[in-house]
Symmetry: C3
Subunit: 422 residues, 3 copies
């Protein structure tokens, strides 16, 4: 997955533009996504898709030294996203009003955009900023273009299952040159989709995988597919910030207790040593749209160090020092476990009254001692809740056993013909 | 408001008698209440209005010195309320069995009544008690009268609104010469009613303001108006102990979660640094009747230092050392905020799917930086709950924003045509 | 009750066999239970009643010394329950594979059974074990018999009440020579049944008292009486481990909030200084059957030191050093209080609106002082919840008053004609 991140790292992405398409083409070499395009100007609910914005070059030259003091080619974050084109000589004072830096993090280039307000600007480290010559004039060049007849690009893959009901797995692809937020998301989703697609071990639900620009992309996607999504989506996740090893977090849906929320909490509870339970008020990615009033899809989000909570967030320091293969792999595993719960969850019902006799089915130890009672305790606990009203997920919560433990015991009961078949 | 308290301070009040009427006449100089009277003997649910009791003079003379050692004219609390008339020479021993004092508060005259049991008595400070001559005889005079054909008086004002639904605001007017409990209540309610009546800024609900003797007065009022109250009262408060600056408290209704309770808790949460959440078991004023089984009006109570919880309670020390204009003013402000919530609360519903585009409505900052997201966060949070199922009060609680903050944001949405009009 | 325990102590009991019948005959000298028998082989839900097992003698002789080194006559726990017959000379190594001891409790003989797996074995203290001669041969004799045409015995008593609805009181009678678990249960239930039967003070509900072998006995009983139990049982308890003085515990039903659970918690809350609230996951006795999916009788359990939680559990140390007459008596009292709540609980409704006038009914102190309000506070609190929706049990919980206190106040209201008669 680190490889995917590295391939995508230096491609310049924004909410529109050729970089998104180029990135999607790379992902397509792993999984057979369809790359779709929607025209600039298309009305999507309260929004219109903005003109497609592309950038060829951007730099600032100190006219005293004739050297490039800020250069987009050094780091993509140097340019404020969606900057209008400019080619002018400006004073230091004029330049400064277009510069962004973080005094408290003197080595970080901040990430700044101005999508819906015509403006231009550059970002740089505070250390670079204080080295600028206050007496110099500067030649500012931004060779950007806005295409009113352009397009917004996104990628989509449907992996059909036995059921038309869909699990929606979404990530965003609109941030330049940062890794935990965002490249970890596309990398993990690519591998997650690949597992579902190739291994076929999950085949009850249909899986809809989308790679979209954040906010405008999810609004566009919802606008184009609203009725279908409302009809078929029964669960899903926004996959973002899943690359470092420092933390786990869960951002719930707006209503907070959908099946996706419950699965996320269950999997995190039994498979991580600790996780932060965020509130809807801490949201920040496409769940904002998926769970908005009237949309209300059952979408939840599991993250590692969550956007807005780590110091490198939205700066050039969100790089490969932070994100590791191990971090990505752990995230993939957690999401696979969530899929596992979606696929395997059911409402078992025992087919005998009173406890079944486990001994005659070789489910009970041969001799009962002070300790031996404990050995079958988990099985007995699970059985005691197989009343047709509790799902395996419920039983996992009630019995304080991981879903996979409960599922293992459920399979033993199934093999022993102790469950009513549906 | 201190002026109102001072005007009423030395008028002798009890549950019946000319002092109540005299007090209501003073209140009538501020707001146009109607003074109503109900005849002694009238059956009110399980009670009968007692004979009207009036007092001309009451004192105890030490016959050794021929001096008045207890004199009702010095302080009204010296006389046990509803004492029967007496004019006798008694021994010290006999006198003592009719005296009340508080050893632990040697400078306080306690407040004692005997409404429904024929008796007489005097109250005095412990310091005065120990100075009585144990060898003297005493001339005891209580020039009181009981009128079986008398009346119980109360004051009432209806301020009609657009709706026939009523907010009931009640205070009691039956305690002699004490300020936090009781004069702060009538003072704050007088000014609260005056604000509603004069400023007309609250005009959706009708406001029913009553000044009644505690217990027998509320029982009488409920008995006379039961069907109307059950039909129209949608909220309200018992206003008592609202004059000092030492504490805030909330006494809930019997069922604990009426709209009045929720508003009281919300206003106290966001507008005081701290408040005591009492239980129904801590009740003690007319909510006992308003919330009794079968009556169950949605009535709650906000207090400063609550009856029964402060050491000066029901003694002569509950005076102007305790109650301040600032204390009264803060209480008035809190109750005005409660009225504000009643009047402004509604169930807003956003009229677009997904998040609205705030930028094109000048609701979004022009440039997005690491920090700028936080600026519109509150607005976004409020929007995310405008689903038609949450009231502004709900949203205030969910988003941890004061009602007035939420209302301000709601008004911005209304002006931006982002809400479905009802 | 200690006497009952002592009479039963040395009778050898297992899930079947003559010892159970002999034990029931002793209980029958106290209360008129009917002794019932069900044939071996009878199908009971998922189970078959096992062959009746009886034991005449069992010992191990060291052939070097010709002395009995383990003798069933010394302590019944020496023999593994349901051991098959054997009469053989075995080596030390062979013998050891059939021995059970607890190294951590060197003076305790453990309790081991092998009901459904054909096997034999002996139990002994670790101290005795290490004294065995490793070079000796051993003569092992178990003179046991299995009767395929035998019977399982249990005792039953129905004490009819005004209502056909039944309170089910169950204990088990299948453990040899241990006192807290199990003889305390039969002893307390014998005296509890005797009180209900003789004193007739509890006569609304019918009481069904059963003494059954654990697990197979309750499954058998449920199998034979399922429809009747489902129709008539409205509450009840499994009475076990009620003999020591060290602790109190409550094991809830599977669903956790039946009337039996609520009564148990209420009685323990107000009548013990402390109790352990166990979860359904901590269960271990016949509630496993009574509350199994589809059976779901409202059965709960109050214990002293609960099975599995005290170090002497299931060993020879669970003896009369642990169980005391005082411990048994306290348990009897607690269960009688539970019966009391079942019998007396009702939904009182006050027959006046607003507070009733307590004074005219001598329910109010004659003179009101700073303190006197507190005296009628409990009565007023109870009255305030007599709305026909709260039971006395609810009111006890809400007002933090014991059920008997609430009941006393309820009786005062009843005598004062303040309650609506049903």
């Amino acid at each position: 997955m680190i490889e995917v991140c590295k391939k995508l790292y230096k491609i310049y992405r924004s909410i529109t533009g050729s970089g998104v398409k180029e990135s999607l083409e790379i992902i397509k070499t792993y999984i057979p996504i369809e790359i779709k395009s929607v025209e600039s100007g298309t009305k999507c609910f309260d929004w219109n898709i903005p003109p497609e914005w592309n950038i060829k070059d951007a730099f600032v030259i100190d006219l005293n030294t004739n050297k490039r003091v800020i250069d987009f080619n050094d780091h993509n974050l140097h340019l404020v996203g969606y900057s209008i084109p400019i080619n002018e000589i400006v004073s230091f004072e004029n330049l400064v009003s277009h510069l962004h830096y973080i005094k408290e993090q003197p080595n970080a280039i901040p990430y700044v955009t101005s999508y819906y307000n015509k403006n231009w600007g550059f970002c740089l480290t505070y250390n670079a900023f204080i080295n600028l010559d206050r007496n110099a004039s500067y030649h500012v060049v931004i060779d950007s273009s806005f295409n009113e007849k352009g397009q917004l690009h996104y990628g989509e893959l449907l992996i059909p299952g036995k059921s038309k009901e869909e699990i929606l797995l979404s990530t965003y692809i609109c941030h330049p040159q940062m890794v935990n937020n965002e490249l970890s998301g596309p990398a993990v989703l690519t591998f997650l989709a690949n597992d579902i697609f190739k291994n076929k071990r999950y085949n009850f639900y249909s899986y809809r995988i989308i790679f979209i620009p954040e906010t405008i992309g999810s609004i566009t996607y919802l606008s184009l597919n609203f009725n279908r999504l409302k009809k078929f989506v029964v669960g899903g996740f926004v996959i973002t910030c899943v690359g470092d090893e420092r933390a786990w977090g869960h951002i719930p849906s707006r209503l907070g207790n959908t099946i996706s929320d419950r699965i996320a909490r269950n999997v995190l509870t039994f498979n991580t040593s600790n996780f932060e339970q965020y509130s809807w008020l801490d949201r920040g990615s496409d769940e904002r749209q998926f769970c908005s009033p009237g949309v209300d899809l059952p979408i939840s989000s599991i993250t590692r160090s969550k956007y807005g909570t780590y110091k490198e967030y939205h700066t050039s320091l969100d790089n490969f020092d932070l994100v590791t293969e191990r971090g990505l792999n752990e995230s993939l595993e957690i999401y696979l476990k969530c899929i596992d719960v979606f696929e395997k969850n059911c409402y078992p019902k025992i087919n005998v009254l009173c406890e079944p006799q486990l001994g005659k089915r070789s489910l009970y130890p041969n001799i009962s001692t002070v300790d031996s009672g404990k050995k079958v305790r988990n099985l007995m606990n699970v059985i005691s809740f197989c009343d047709g009203n509790n799902s395996l997920l419920d039983i996992s919560e009630i019995c304080h056993l991981s879903f996979s433990e409960v599922y293992g015991l459920y399979m033993e009961l199934l093999k022993s013909d102790l469950l009513i078949s549906e």
